[in-house]
């Protein structure tokens, strides 16, 4: 069937070498332009280093005066991630069956669904959060909505890919017993993909806990608010406490999540 694809004549030697030179030249050009655009300035870094060392020195010992408030903000961050991810998971479960090639009722449903999901995925939680702060006001709820919308896009795409990887045979076999779509999905598909989907959900939760630590910078709740305040006031001991709390929380969630995911696999 694919005989003509395999029988393509090999390109001559000079063409291959020429192709490689062109590739390397292009890459070098792209980097040269990018470094220029990104304003890379080693001098500025060297000048800044003593200042950062000075901050680090002034940050020790970390301040514990407002530990209770900071921990509350950390809990708020975790809550934004949990509620946002869960909301996204529900929306993703509904839409992924429309977006998966082997399950969609038709291409007329699948393609618009894909476009919607790609759009959602293309806009970062942070950007959504800015919009929602304007729409629903300052606070963690704006963060929840921002996380939920972006995660919905990413998660549904990953869910759909997991579903597309399910072998077609068993699904066909069950479909051909006369089972409806709902029966097919709940009986033959769900048991097969549930571990994979749960694993994706945990991974997204882990990712969103990290994302949520900065949402407070735009006023969308969580510990990011304290991060920004401390920096604005040049209160480095407090900033250090905030950073330590973030690191502990993110590490704990990562550990928990990867342990759970290993058990699923």
């Amino acid at each position: 069937m694919d005989a003509d694809a395999g029988a393509r004549a090999p390109r001559p030697r000079w063409a291959r070498i020429g192709g490689r030179i062109a590739l390397v030249a292009t890459l070098l050009g792209v980097y040269a332009v990018s470094i220029r655009l990104a304003d890379v300035d080693l001098g500025a870094l060297l000048e800044g280093l003593p200042r950062m060392a000075d901050w680090a020195g002034r940050a020790v010992p970390p301040e514990t005066a407002q530990l209770g408030l900071l921990l509350l903000r950390a809990a708020e961050t975790a809550a934004i991630a949990l509620v946002g991810t869960t909301l996204a998971a529900v929306l993703a479960l509904v839409t992924c069956t429309l977006a998966a090639r082997n399950l969609t009722p038709s291409a007329f449903v699948r393609l618009p669904t894909r476009w919607l999901l790609n759009t959602l995925r293309g806009i970062d939680s942070f950007v959504f959060a800015i919009l929602f702060v304007a729409a629903v006001g300052l606070g963690p709820f704006a963060g929840v909505l921002g996380v939920a919308l972006h995660t919905w896009g990413s998660m549904a795409k990953l869910f759909a890919e997991t579903i597309e990887d399910v072998p077609a045979g068993p699904l066909d076999a069950v479909r051909l017993t006369g089972a409806s779509r709902t029966k097919l999905v709940s009986y033959a598909l769900v048991p097969d993909v549930l571990p994979g989907l749960s694993s994706i959900g945990l991974y997204m939760l882990e990712f969103n806990v990290r994302t949520s630590t900065v949402l407070g910078i735009v006023g969308a709740g969580g510990i990011g608010l304290e991060l920004k305040n401390s920096l604005d006031l040049l209160n480095f001991p407090r900033l250090l406490t905030v950073i330590i709390i973030i690191l502990l929380m993110v590490t704990a969630v990562d550990q928990l999540s990867s342990r759970l995911r290993r058990r699923l696999g």
Partner: protein, 268 residues
Amino acid sequence: MSGHGGAPAIRVQGLGHTYPGHSAPALRDVSFDVGRGEVVAVLGPSGAGKTTLFRCLTQLIASEQGLVELAGRRLGELRGRELSLARRDIGLIFQQFNLVRRLTAEQNVLAGRLGHVPTWRVVLRRFEKSDRALAQACLARVGLSDQASQRADRLSGGQQQRVAIARVLAQQSAVVLADEPVSSLDPASATDVLDTLRGVARERDITVLSSLHQVELATRFADRIVGLRDGRVVVDAPASDFDAADYASIFGRPGQLANVPPGQATPA
């Protein structure tokens, strides 16, 4: 439903199919009948059109020429829910068994009931006692009662194919189509699976059409052999009459047959 001597269980007439982008048709003017309760093997080398024939029979592909009748119904004229209902009465057995990997043997057998059970029962996995008893009886019939709660992907190939037979039994279909049911099994399991399939067909008056590519298995298993070559029916004979000439017309070369005197057919 017609009784013995009525309409054939499977009728294929003038069936032709050409895959898009291919010049040679995969099936050309294929015609044969399978009587009720008959066990027929479709024999042919790979590429002869066996799989295309099975896909046309189940309407997984729509054939552009000819007609297919299963249990008196023309599947090609049915759409949507009617097609689903018609398919419910046809049991299918596949080369790769096609069990749901993470369900138990018993749950896979119960999948044969999905066309009959209300949706809420399927979603909640709350099958009626009668359905569960049926599933257990079907598993017992294929000798796998002790594996009922084993996950499908932990069973051997032969066991998985017997679970698939039990699924077809639970479906209570009068017609079973099997596409290369034993080609991924070792010889002992292959014989075992075909004997089981033949046994249940005899007991329950089930019509079986199965594609096979090994002559020894086909003549042992079937009442009748339909030979395909290059998409055409080249042999249609009782299994007991199958001879070296039939072999040569299907496979295009002389072959060795157990019931052929040596010398009459020499291996290539």
